[in-house]
Amino acid sequence: MAQIVLPKVTIPASSSVTSTAPGNELIGIHNLSLFYGNARALKDISLSIRERLVTAFIGPSGCGKSTLLRCLNRMNDLIDGVRIEGGVHIGGHNINDPDVDVIELRKRVGMVFQKSNPFPKSIYDNVAYGLRLQGMKARSDLDAAVEVSLSAAALWDEVKDRLHGSALGLSGGQQQRLCIARAIAVKPEIILMDEPASALDPIATSRIEDLILELKKNFTIVIVTHNMQQAARVSDHTAFFYMGELVEFGATSKIFTSPGQKRTEDYVTGRFG
């Protein structure tokens, strides 16, 4: 199999030398359709996700927003009988091309899941997992990376004294921030978040939201959410999906204050969904 063929995109995580202004297209979705067997779950979706901004996918359950999110790191590959038409371009390269190394893709497109899923290992080993996969062995390197990642996920102060304690001993909100730390440890460019706060209480949710606003300085974030206020609070762009179709996509302020479509307005004002 061909090694990494994804071209390097100039999105250095924290360097300011080559960084461009936020807002250049990083992910281009072009006429994407997805089928489960014969059922079409996504219909001809085109949208553009811009770098170092937060893009929110909203819509009622079953509208395809999570499915679309999982197209961006090819997690749908794991499901039998899924067929995809159209393209997802990241940094100008179609990630569905047969020569794309999906392992390399997933290192660059991290993911945080709805249900926090820390490994039944220590906090330290959770964060170090992805780094060890990439061959990082030296204790000092790992120590440094773990601290940086946990700090970036606003978790370091809470866990620095029990790094080698079990990750499952953390609270739900801490576990989810650990999962974020684990994802950013491998230095992705993009972080996909699939309803990351839907299982958390309001305080833990607000910490995650603060974190998202902090992370977007360095990462491009795509978040699926059921929570309209959350989308309004954290995102720059919002895409509204209904029945597998993209109904409307635009600046979050516009979607929530003067949507162009009746269906969008009905949904964001709580008339259905």
């Binding site: 997690m75 039998d80 392992i103 997933r106 993911m111 220590s122 992805g130 996969l133 079990s166 491998v186």
Partner: protein, 320 residues
């Protein structure tokens, strides 16, 4: 609404009945009786064995290699049988665990769940569990000894049969084939119990499927795998039929020390003592003593396996 609430709290309501519920009583009694019957049978068997067997048991008995005529209670012993049974079970474990676990990993992690091939493999595994053990014995004779062993001899230009004869290795392999379904099913169950979210988390971090299985899935499944091993050991330790044609010897003057040696076996020795004895009354004590040794050995092997499993569980829990 208010009226009905008042009604409910009216003091005249009472829920007591004077009728005796005969059906409930009858079925409760029946289930209890069935349970008691099982326990009673077990107790009678154990009491009988211990009562008849303990007098014949001594350190000399378990540490002596008997002479050709092993029917004399005063001089006989069962050391070669203890060694033989222990080794055939251990060697079996070395084969059945890796093969069973690999098969289970294939079935749960790799094979397409709904494909015809997968369903056929599953059905085959289940059917394997239902095959009578004597059939496994004949299979072992035909496949391992006559086919594998003899061809190995031909390949190595051995002057006489070295591998093409009953041996410890072939008996162990036959037992491994027999206990394979137990290990496969136990491992599959424990693999299925692992939350899919853990696999997804690993893959989303750029792990390959193999890395995910080795680093996340299998460590979590270890207690379940060991349960399969325990069940396999329990089943195999007392089995005689599969080793009848494949490795057990009526008598050997020395202990087995190579994989292609034949061996003596506790279960088979019980059969020999009870059918070949010239004086059944005289050998009764050593017959029962041999049964006690077989039971103790089975319990010990199980106990060691359970001990290992509980240590693994404790280790997982301290991390989890």
């Amino acid at each position: 609404m208010k009226a009905s609430l008042d009604e409910l709290s009216r003091p005249s309501r009472h829920f007591r009945t004077v009728r005796f519920d005969f059906v409930s009583f009858f079925f409760t009694g029946l289930t209890g009786l069935a349970t008691f019957l099982i326990l009673a049978i077990l107790a009678v068997i154990l009491a009988n064995i211990l009562f008849n067997g303990l007098p014949g048991l001594s350190w000399r008995f378990v540490s002596t290699i008997p002479k050709k005529d092993f029917f004399d209670p005063a001089t006989t012993g069962v050391l070669p049988m203890i060694i033989g049974t222990t080794f055939r079970v251990l060697v079996m474990t070395l084969f059945v665990i890796p093969v069973g676990v690999t098969t289970a990993v294939y079935l749960t992690e790799y094979a397409p769940a709904s494909a015809l091939v997968t369903r056929i493999i599953r059905a085959a595994v289940n059917n394997l569990a239902g095959v009578p053990s004597i059939v496994f014995g004949l299979f072992g004779l035909g496949f391992f000894i006559n086919f594998l062993g003899r061809n190995l001899d031909a390949l190595l230009h051995n002057p006489g049969p070295v591998w093409g004869q009953p041996a410890l290795i072939w008996a162990s392999l036959t037992l491994a084939v027999m206990t394979l379904p137990v290990v496969i099913v136990a491992t599959e169950e424990s693999l299925k119990a692992i939350p899919p979210g853990l696999r997804e988390a690993s893959l989303a971090l750029g792990a390959t499927k193999l890395e995910t299985i080795l680093k996340i899935v299998l460590p979590q499944a270890l207690p379940g795998i060991l349960t399969g091993g325990i069940l396999a050991v329990s089943r195999a330790a007392g089995e005689v039929a599969p080793i009848l044609f494949t490795g057990v010897a009526y008598y050997m003057a020395s202990l087995p020390h190579r994989l292609n040696d034949q061996f003596m076996d506790l279960g088979y020795h019980v059969f020999v003592l009870s059918t070949q004895s010239p004086d059944i009354e005289k050998t009764r004590s050593i017959l029962f003593a041999t049964v006690v040794v077989l039971l103790l050995l089975t319990f010990t092997l199980n106990f060691v396996a359970v001990l290992i499993r509980s240590r693994v569980r404790k280790k997982l829990r301290s991390l989890a």
